[in-house]
């Protein structure tokens, strides 16, 4: 029953994709849209054999993937660390909670030029910027998760003889876990945005750089091919995060 429902959903999604593709083919065939703006689908497809033979393509993919991994590591480690300190220490919470909330309403992209000044135009500035971007939801959710653990769990733990350490590891962390993980998921998505936006705005390598440069020189089919590759990378990254998440939730 649930299976049939899922099949229906997938069928509808495929149908929508087919419609988009049909419109794309129709519009480009009829010559209604300039190939500079929207190339024919088969032209985009033709790019891929060239790409996979091109060491520049593999280099770009590798650079972006590494930047992403670095950014996520920075965001997760710093976010969890700050989140735990702030969430467990009331004076820090009073100072930091409004700051964390405020930071989430600020377009952090504004700070990217500073990142470039500090870390140069290479991958380091993307790691720093992506990490900075992803840091806030992780820290904010960790603070929220730890400070909203129902006090009755802690009282019950005390009555059952939990030591301080046991209270943290066996009660506080499991109770806070779902909310922390949703922060991590959100942070991961923002790391992605940070890294790709960083590459688009100023870089010398990576998928974002290739996208910006093929767009700048009107190599439109290549542009579309690179965007497609970036989307695939995003999908793989998100899938990995969700997987890790589900596994954690089962424990």
């Amino acid at each position: 029953m649930a299976r049939r429902e899922r099949l229906t959903v997938v069928a509808i999604q495929l149908g929508l994709a087919a419609v988009v593709l049909a419109v794309w083919v129709y519009q480009t065939r009829a010559g209604r849209v300039s190939p500079i703006l929207l190339p024919q689908p088969e032209r985009v497809l033709d790019e891929f054999p060239d790409l996979v033979r091109d060491p520049v393509f593999w280099g770009s993919l590798r650079t972006t993937a590494l930047e992403l991994a670095g950014a996520f590591a920075v965001a997760a480690v710093a976010g969890l660390l700050v989140g735990v300190v702030v969430g467990r220490w009331a004076p820090a919470a009073r100072v930091a909670t409004p700051l964390l909330a405020w930071a989430q309403t600020v377009p952090i992209i504004l700070f990217y030029p500073i990142c470039i000044l500090l870390f140069g135009i290479g991958p380091m500035s993307k790691v720093a910027f992506g990490g900075f971007y992803g840091f806030f939801p992780i820290a904010a959710n960790t603070v929220l998760a730890l400070s909203t653990v129902p006090p009755r769990y802690l009282t019950a733990a005390a009555a059952l003889g939990a030591s301080r350490r046991q209270t943290v590891t066996r009660v506080l962390i499991p109770a806070a876990r779902p909310l922390i993980l949703s922060g991590v998921r959100l942070g991961a998505a923002l790391c992605l945005i940070g890294v790709l936006a960083g590459e688009l705005l100023g870089s010398t390598e990576g998928l974002g750089y290739q996208i910006a440069s093929s767009s700048g020189s009107f190599r439109t089919p290549e542009l579309y091919a690179y965007i497609f590759v970036a989307l695939v990378l995003v999908a793989i990254f998100n899938l990995a995060i969700t997987r890790a998440d589900d596994r954690n939730a089962q424990v």
Partner: protein
């Protein structure tokens, strides 16, 4: 139980508790409450909602600090929880929702450092005792409120404490189940000789189970009267239909009725719906 020794296990002396609310008001929940609970004794606390029964239990368990007065366990001042001696069943049972039922029952032994196999056996035994052996691998969210309360009882029993503080452990159960579990509890406790302080809203339950019933007044909570139930333990189901049972229950009803009426009218007039404000009395 006939065998209650005279040495008090738990004593409260002039215990006062004043809560400070978030708006800065002070709520006096307990006003100079003094109570001795003897070893092996079963004492019930009964009184209107909000009169401080849970608060008293928390203080007796060392889980909350009284404003003034003293509590002692075997003559030693209580300053914090003593999980080896005192077990707790909370009014809202607070099982850990991320743990299975069996691992909720064994959690106290886990904290104590008991080996996995031993604590599992112990937990399984106590889970069977409350009739929920079949739910060992379920999660708390999959159980009804009454079942969760029984799990909380099994969790407290697993710690094998000398003293059990139970806050309305049968509160979420229907009358029938409640009676059966009450008899069951009486049987278990008889075997283990535990000392019990038991909060309840049920007059019959209080009379049926207790050696003494402590009636508390509406807030600020004071001890209004203490009734002694002389019937020897273990109590037989026949006791609950006897004349002495009915007399005790009626006496309790009268004592409590005044208090509940006072408390309810005070609350209603506080909320602006109080009518004739108790002039009819």
């Amino acid at each position: 139980m006939a065998e209650t020794t005279t040495a008090p296990a738990l004593t409260a002396t002039e215990v006062t508790m004043a809560y400070r609310t978030r708006r800065g008001h002070t709520v006096v929940a307990l006003d100079r409450v003094s109570l001795d609970v003897r070893r092996g004794e079963f004492v019930s606390l009964i009184g209107p909602s909000g009169c401080g029964k849970s608060t008293l239990l928390y203080i007796l368990g060392g889980l909350r600090r009284q404003t003034s007065g003293e509590v002692a366990l075997d003559g030693q001042r209580i300053t914090g929880p003593t999980p080896r001696k005192v077990g707790f069943v909370f009014q809202d049972y607070t099982l850990f929702p991320w743990r299975t039922i069996i691992s909720n029952v064994e959690v106290g032994l886990e904290f104590r450092g008991v080996g996995r196999k031993e604590r599992r056996e112990h937990a399984a035994y106590n889970l069977d005792l409350v009739g929920l052996g079949a739910f060992a691998n379920a999660y708390p969210g999959e159980l009804s409120g009454g079942m969760q309360q029984r799990v909380a009882i099994a969790r407290a029993l697993s710690m094998d404490p000398e003293i059990l503080l139970m806050d309305e452990p049968f509160g979420a159960l229907d009358e029938q189940t409640r009676t059966v579990l009450g008899e069951e509890l009486a049987r278990i406790l008889e075997k283990t000789g535990k000392t019990i302080v038991f909060v309840t809203h049920s007059l019959s339950e209080a009379v049926f189970l207790s050696d003494r019933v402590v009636v508390m007044s509406a807030r600020p909570g004071r001890i209004k009267e203490i009734l002694t139930v002389a019937e020897p333990r273990p109590r037989q189901p026949a006791f609950s239909t006897s004349q002495s049972f009915t007399d005790l229950r009626n006496g309790l009803f009268d004592l409590l009725h005044e208090e509940v009426r006072a408390a309810t009218l005070a609350e209603m007039s506080g909320a602006g719906i109080g009518g004739d404000g108790g002039r009819r009395g």
